[in-house]
């Protein structure tokens, strides 16, 4: 028996395409959650090994394409934005090395951590304030009261705030993708937003339903668990925390390695988008080319490092990766 003509054509209507996209997007989120829940530690090790370097490289490429050729009225914004990335990254690196190598008292450690986090919050608040004065103008009266509350939170629980940042950072990638879908008027926007609704549900399931493993963890597992907030967040099994973090981290990698490059290449008719800075002069063209080459070499170096001694390389990577975490802030705020 053949299907009625109206049914057959129904598979090709915009509504059926939309349903297909929604099912696809939700299916990807569920599949990632399942993978993270079943093998949290293994997936964490493999995902960081494979995707940590390339996603940094692709993020850097993306930021270059979003940077205007001439800053003009945005000079103050980009100076504070990029200056903050460099200064805060350097301070974080110096503090982290000092905490490792010198004998800090607990109060000294907590105070220095709170000071760094206060600087981070004030930097973000300043960028938000500057953003309100750019086109399209924004009216965000809550910036400074919220910043003050965050600073108060930092001083009352600095370690908890560090763990919060570990979980907030992967979510920034999801926000970026949403802004790109809006900017490019992509038909995937609604499907993606529906899939986003599945993220908190998956997180709740992972945090409550991930099975605990028996036995004492090895050094690498302990490292991964500490990174995911074990010892800071009470009442949740270590495996569950790792699974939740891996789930967000995998989504983050998917956004930066698959979704955003795919969208932007589609927008540029199959060609890699050219950074506006490259049109500025020969010097900038070469600088961007060399940035790409050096970035590629660093990605390869990271893979070699992970292959030689994964347990040593992993904390070093997360220490140096603070730069890309911070760089996401000014570029994201420009898109709001």
């Amino acid at each position: 028996m053949s299907l009625p003509a109206s049914w057959r054509s129904g598979f090709q209507t915009p509504r059926s395409f939309a349903l297909g996209r929604t099912c696809g997007a939700v299916g990807i989120v569920l599949a990632v959650a399942l993978l993270a829940g079943l093998l949290p530690i293994t997936v964490s090790i493999v995902a960081v090994f494979l995707f940590a370097g390339p996603h940094n490289w692709l993020e850097a490429q993306y930021f270059l394409t979003r940077m205007p050729a001439r800053w003009g009225r945005l000079t103050g914004y980009f100076t504070i934005g990029l200056g903050g990335v460099v200064a805060l990254s350097a301070a974080f690196l110096a503090l982290s090395l000092s905490w490792s190598w010198q004998n800090w008292s607990e109060s000294g450690f907590l105070t220095s951590l709170a000071l760094w986090q206060t600087a981070l919050i004030l930097w973000i608040a300043m960028l938000l304030e500057l953003r309100t004065r750019q086109n399209p103008r924004r009216d965000w009266p809550g910036i400074w009261p919220v910043a003050a509350l965050c600073v108060a939170g930092v001083w009352t629980a600095p370690v908890a705030w560090s763990t919060a940042l570990v979980f907030i950072h992967p979510s920034l990638g999801l926000w970026y993708l949403d802004r790109e879908l809006v900017r490019l008027k992509s038909p995937w926007k609604n499907a993606y937003r529906t899939a986003l609704l599945a993220v908190p549900v998956c997180l709740a399931l992972l945090l409550t339903g991930t099975p605990s493993t028996l036995g004492s963890p090895d050094v690498l597992t302990q490292q991964i668990q500490e990174h995911a907030g074990v010892g800071v967040i009470p009442g949740i099994a270590p495996e569950a925390l790792v699974a939740a973090h891996v789930f967000l981290e995998l989504l983050h990698y998917l956004v930066w390695i698959v979704a955003i490059p795919g969208l932007t290449i589609q927008q540029h008719a199959g060609h890699w988008p050219v950074a506006p800075l490259a049109r500025r002069s020969q010097f900038w063209r070469r600088a961007i080319l060399w940035t790409g080459i050096v970035g590629g070499v660093l990605v390869a170096g990271l893979w070699i490092g992970f292959s030689v001694d994964y347990a040593t390389m992993r904390p070093w990577y997360f220490l140096l990766a603070i730069g890309h975490v911070l760089a996401e802030v000014p570029f994201l705020l420009r898109q709001l």
Binding site: P141, W144, A148, L149, V151, A152, W155, T156, A157
Partner: protein, 148 residues
């Protein structure tokens, strides 16, 4: 180590904020120069304290009070709050269209009113505390007080 704990201060934050704006709001409403609209006066009454109060009530007790004692905390908090509020007010509510002379005169008046509002909330807050209103003594214990 001296001073209240973080949990105590978080619990006190909303009560103290309401108490502070109850005192400061009328002073700012009637005192700010006439160039400011009603909306600006309302915003100043609620918003300025929201920007500085978490720092005064949480960050400074956990740092200055614990390390240098209550008197040092009072000095720092009661300097920080008016200075920060004057700067924030100038940053966000200054009127670039008015003449330089008017602007300077009104700016001085606004700054004086903000300082006066902070001083009033500080003194009235201490007075209320002495009278045992808002049960602050239960929160802080004898011998200490919270500058509002």
């Amino acid at each position: 180590m001296d001073g209240p704990t973080a949990d105590e201060m978080w619990a006190f934050l909303p009560i103290g904020y309401l108490q502070t704006i109850l005192i400061e709001f009328p002073i700012l409403w009637f005192g700010l120069s006439s160039r400011h609209s009603r909306g600006t006066r309302v915003a100043a009454g609620l918003w300025l304290t929201a920007c500085t109060y978490p720092v005064v009530i949480l960050v400074l007790p956990l740092t200055v009070w614990q390390w240098y004692g209550y008197e040092a905390y009072l000095l720092v908090a009661e300097t920080f709050a008016p200075v920060a509020e004057v700067l924030l007010f100038r940053l966000l509510f200054s009127n670039p269209t008015s003449s330089a002379e008017d602007s300077q005169r009104d700016g001085l008046r606004d700054a004086a009113v903000i300082v006066a509002a902070n001083l009033a909330s500080f003194l009235l807050g201490l007075g209320l505390q002495e009278l045992g209103i808002f049960c602050l003594d239960d929160l802080i214990g004898p011998g200490g007080g919270i500058a509002l």
